[in-house]
Subunit: 341 residues, 4 copies
C-alpha cells in the first residue's frame, strides 16, 4: 500500500547508515565529547554563519522544546505560542510538566503575527493585575508551522523586533526546518533564521536521521551548564556519537538541504495534480504537507490503497486529510498516487 | 592507544547494524507502534518468562530512572537508594528535578542489604514525626551495582521480601544487566530477576546497542497511560523502530547474553593477570568492571598507553582506577594490556 | 473615602477576634492537631451533612487550588476550567507550576455548561492522537463564578453527571461560597454542594476570616497522606489553631451564612438603586459582586469619592467596573454610595 | 499539665492581638500593599541597618525555605545543608518537591563548619564528572540550629567568606532567630546577621506571632518578580495585613528581642536547675531548647505531669528529650517543673 501518512516513516538516509557502519568500532568518548559531535557542531555553525553560537545535539523534538523552553524561562514566566503550536497541542503537556504555562494566542494559518503578539504583550503589561498572572517570557513559533506554512523574512523580522522590544527570546521549532528552507516560496536561508531568533533547532528526525535535533543558541546565550540541565532531564545520550555522526553527515556537502528538496519536489508534483483534478485545499501550504478536503466517501475509498493522515472534520460530509512527503519519498509513488486520485 | 575507559565506547553490534540497514526503507508506523517494537517486546517477555508483564523501550538510563521512579511514586514519597547509587550521584539530580527525594542509605560494596533497608523502614514508621518527612515509596538497586558487584538470588529475595512487607516496589537498574547475568558468580537468570522485583530495565546502551533501555513492569503494574508520561518527559522517539530493531536483534538467538559473555571473559582474563602480577583490588567485582589500586607513578606511566577510568583517590600515593570491558572488547587488546601492566 | 473595591478589605469578624483573644494562652498541639481544628472539622461535616467526608484547613485560595488539583491529578492529566476561571487567569500559573495544564474551555457568564464539557471530553477520546495530548483529569468550577454568577442545582447535577460518566472528579472553588448560598437566587444548600461534587472548599478569607479555606473531600476520597502533601507544599501552619478557631467560630450558630447575608443584602440594595438610576449592567450577577458599565467621565468623577474595581474596557467610551460588598459592608456606606451615583 | 513540648504552643503576643483588634475594620488594600506591611518592612530594614535590602512577609517556615531556595537556584543546582538541617529532615521533601536536591553534609552540633563546606566545594569542582552531578548553588544554615546551638560572628564570617569565594549565596533560616540574638552567648546582633549572609528570615511563628516569617534579601538581590513567584507557590495572603500588623508590632519598641529574652531567661533558669540536679545534657545549647538525656523510667514518670519533646533514643536505657521555652513561658511553670524534676 502507498503511504503518505507522515514524514518519519523511513529509517535514515543511506549516507548516515554508511557513516554509522564505517565508524562503528572506533572507540570514542561518551556524552557528546567525540570528534563527530565536534565536527557536526562546527559545520552547523558554519552553515548558520554564526560566530557566537552554541550547538547542542538532542534526541527528539518534544524533549528539545521542553528543555530549551524550561531552561530559558524563569519560574514566573510562560511561553507564548499559537493555539495550533505543537507545544500547545500534541506534546502531552511537556511544557506544563516542566512548570510553565503555554500562553496560547490566535494564529493565522498556523502563524503568529507580530501585531497580535505585540497586542498581547501590551495588554499584559497594561493590566494592573499582571503581577498575579503568568509573565510572557518567550515566543515560540514553528518553521514551517504545523500547517506547513512559512514566515517570510519580513514577517520573521517584525516578530523578532517585537520580542526584542520586550526583551524576551524568540524560539523557532525547526522540526521540519529543511522543508521550509527548500521551499520555492521561502525567502529565508539558514543564516537568516539564525539571525532572526535567539534559539532554534534544526530537525533531524523528520529530515533524514533516525533521531536527533540540533539546538542552536545564536547569540552566545546558551543557559549556564546546559549539558547538566540536559542530563537532569534524561536527555543526554551516552553514545553521543549517534547524534554527532548523523548531523555531521547531514551537514556535509549540503546533504540536509539536498534531501529536503526531494520532499518539496514530490509535494509540488502532488499539489499540481490535486489542483488539476479539482481537489479543494484546506490551507495553502508550500512545504511537504498538503491538507486536502475530501468527500467522506472518496476518503474511505482512497484509504483502501493509500495511507494518509486524518486531520480533522471539515463538515458533516467532508474531512481534512494530510498527505506528507519527505526526504525519502519515491517520485514513482507520487505518480501512483496521482493515478488513483 | 588501548582503551578500557568505559563500556560505551563503541557503536552497536554488527547484527544490529545489519538489521537497521535491511529494514531502513520499510515504511513503519511511528512512536513504537511498529512490528519490530512489537516483536522485541514479545521476545523480552518470553526471555523473562513473564505472562503479566509490560515492556516499554526508552532511550537512555537516566531518562529511564527518572520516568520509572517519578511515575511510580506519589508526590509525598521518595526513593531509597544506596549512597553509591547512580541516581544518588551521577544523574545530575534527575530524580529531585522530577520532584522526589533520594533517600540515601549506607551500602556494602555498592549493595543495599535487606536488614539495613528494613531498619530504615522500621525507623521511619516508628518516628512520630514521620508525617513531616519524605515517605519511602520505592527501593532502587543496580544489578550489577556501580561497583560491579552482584546480588545473589538469596539476597535479592530477602530484599524483595522487605519491600513487599512494606508494600513498596523494588526497582532494578539494569544498565549493565547482561554483565550480571553472564557472570560466573551470578545465580540469577533473567526470569529470576523478573520474578524478584516489580520493575527493572534491561540496558541496551552498554550492551551492544547505540541506545535504548527496555523497561519491564513485571506484574501487570505499568502506570496508567505510561506512554503519555513518556511523551511528556520528552522521551518518546518518533522513529521507535530504532529501539525496536535493536532490542529485537538483541533478543534473537540469545544475542544479548552471548555478547555479554565477551565482556565477562575478557574481564576474567584481565582480572587473573592483574592478580598474578600482584595488583591490589579495591573491591572484588565479578562483572565487567575492575577496580584496581595503582601507585600514582605507575598510574601516570600506564596512562600514556592505556585509557582507563579515574575512580577516586585511595590515599596520598595511590589511586583507584577502573578498567572496563564490554561486548566489543577485543581479547587481543586485553593481551596487549596485560603485557604492559 | 467609600470603598467597594473588593471583598477582602477588612480584618476578621468580631466573633473570631473574640475567640482568638479568649483562647490565646491555651497551650495547644501544633499542625492542626488541636481541639479547635477538630471541632471545626466536625461542625463543617455536620453542616455539609456528610458522613464520609474529610476536612483540611488551608491558608489561602491559590494554595488550596494548587494543592487539591495537583494531588488529585496524575502527571499525564490536566484540569478543565473556564477561560475565565481563577486558575486560568489570576493565580500566576500556580497549576502549571505544579506540573499540570489548565485545559481552558469557553464559558457562559463565567460558567461551564455540561454539554460543552461533555463535548470536550468526547472530542478528546475521539481524537486518535489523544495519547499525545493532556488527559482531562478533573473539572474545576467556581461557585459563585468569577463573574458572580451561580449554578442552579439542575446545572450542577448535570455537570457532575458528565464528570461521573468520565470518572473524573468535579472540584468547586468556593472562595465566596457563602455569597452563593446566601443569594436569593441560589437553590443549593451546603449539603447539596457537598453531594454534587467530589471536593470543594469553603472560603474563609473573603467571608469573615483573616485567612483560611476549608477543603472538603466529600466521598472518603482524600488523597493519601494529604497532610504530608500540604507540608511539602509549604502550606501547613504550625499554629493550626489560627485556622481551627476561625472556622470553629464561623460554623457555630450558623455564623458563616448569617454574615454572608449581609453581603447579599447590601449588594441587593445597591443593585436596585443602580437599576433605578438607569445604570447598565455588564452581567446579571445575583451575589456580592456587581459589574456595571460606566461612561469613562462618570467613572473618573466617581473614583474621587469611591474606590471600586476596574474590570475591563467595554468600548472606547465605557468601562466595566466592579462594586463588591462583603460580610462587613456597612449599609450606611451603601446609602452614601447610592446618594452620589 | 505543664508543657515544655515546643515553642509554638500559644497564640500571639498580646500587643499583636491588641493591634489586630484596633485595626480590624480599617479598609486596607490586599496582597501586602497596605500601610502596615509597608511600615513593618521599613522597621525591619532599619533594625537590620540595611539600605539595600528587600523584605517580603510570608506565612510559614517550610513555605519560606521552599520559595527562597527554589527561586534563588538554577535548575542544575542544589542546596548544601547539614544532615540535621530542617530542610533535610522535617519539611516533607519540600525542596525536592520544588525540583532541587538537598546536598547533605556532616554537621557538628547542628552547625556547618567553613572548612567542611569548603572541602565539599573543592571536591565537587575537582571531580571530573561534576557536569553529571548536582551543582552546589547555595548554603543553608539555621540560626539557632535545630540543636539550639549558635554560630559565632567569626564562624559565620568564615562560612560567608567561603560562599563568596564560590559565588553562591548563604541563606539563614531564622525560624527562632530571636532566641539566638537574645542569648547571652551570641555575639551577633541583627545587623551582623544581615551583613553576613545574602538572605535570611526572621521567624515570627515561634517568636510571638500567630504566623509569619519575614524574608530579608540583604544586598538588593531579591529574585525578579518575587511576589509573582510567591503567588504561584500559593503563599500570597489576600489579607496581607495579618502579617504586616504582626511584624509591625514585633518591630516596634524592640518587642521582638524583648519577648525573645523571656525564652532565654526561663531556659537559663531551667538549665541551671538541671545541671545542679545532675542531669546529663545531650548537647550544650545556649538558646531556648534544652536537650537532656533521661533514664527511660524517669522519662515515663515525668511524662505524667509534664509534656516535653521526645528527640531520639540515646541507648537502650536512656532517651534524649527536649524541653523548649518561648516568649510566653511563665517563670512559675519553670519553677513547678524544677520542683518535680
Amino acid at each position: 500500500m502507498l503511504s503518505f501518512v507522515n514524514d518519519y516513516s523511513e529509517g535514515a538516509h543511506e549516507s548516515i547508515l554508511k557513516r554509522l557502519v564505517e565508524t562503528n568500532m572506533e572507540k570514542l568518548p561518551g556524552y557528546g565529547a567525540d570528534i563527530y559531535c565536534e565536527s557536526a557542531k562546527k559545520k552547523i555553525l558554519s552553515a548558520c554563519a554564526l560566530s557566537n553560537g552554541d550547538v547542542f545535539l538532542l534526541v527528539g523534538g518534544t524533549q528539545t522544546n521542553r528543555i530549551v523552553i524550561s531552561s530559558m524561562l524563569s519560574s514566573y514566566q510562560g511561553v507564548i505560542a499559537a493555539t495550533s503550536g505543537h507545544i500547545s497541542t500534541h506534546e502531552a503537556g511537556a511544557i506544563e510538566n516542566s512548570g510553565h504555562k503555554v500562553l496560547e494566542i490566535a494564529h493565522e494559518n498556523g502563524k503568529l503575527s507580530a501585531p497580535v503578539v505585540k497586542a498581547f504583550l501590551e495588554n499584559f503589561y497594561a493590566d494592573e493585575n499582571h503581577e498575579h498572572m503568568v509573565f510572557p517570557g518567550m515566543v515560540f513559533i514553528s518553521l514551517p508551522t504545523e500547517y506547513g506554512t512559512l514566515y517570510s523574512k519580513g514577517e520573521l523580522s517584525e516578530l523578532y523586533s517585537v520580542c526584542k522590544d520586550y526583551s524576551i527570546p524568540l524560539y523557532i521549532d525547526g522540526a521540519r526546518l529543511g522543508y521550509a528552507l527548500a521551499s520555492d516560496e521561502c525567502d529565508l536561508a539558514l543564516p537568516d533564521v539564525a539571525d532572526l531568533c535567539d534559539v532554534f533547532y534544526i530537525g533531524g528526525t523528520k529530515v533524514g536521521a533516525f533521531c536527533g535535533e540540533a539546538v542552536v543558541f545564536t547569540k552566545n546565550n546558551a543557559p549556564a551548564h546546559f549539558m547538566t540541565v540536559v542530563k537532569a532531564n534524561g536527555a543526554l545520550l551516552a553514545k553521543g556519537r549517534l547524534l554527532g555522526i548523523q548531523f555531521d553527515t547531514l551537514f556535509s556537502d549540503d546533504l540536509y538541504l539536498k534531501i529536503s528538496r526531494n520532499a518539496i519536489e514530490t509535494a509540488k508534483t502532488l499539489r499540481c495534480a490535486l489542483k488539476e483534478k479539482g481537489y479543494r485545499f484546506f490551507i495553502d501550504s508550500p512545504t511537504n504537507q498538503l491538507f486536502v478536503i475530501l468527500d467522506n466517501k472518496k476518503m474511505r475509498a482512497l484509504s483502501e490503497s493509500v495511507a494518509f493522515g486524518f486531520w480533522e472534520k471539515f463538515d458533516g460530509d467532508n474531512t481534512v486529510v494530510r498527505f506528507a512527503t519527505d526526504w525519502a519519498t519515491d517520485p514513482k509513488d507520487v505518480e501512483k498516487l496521482i493515478s488513483i486520485l
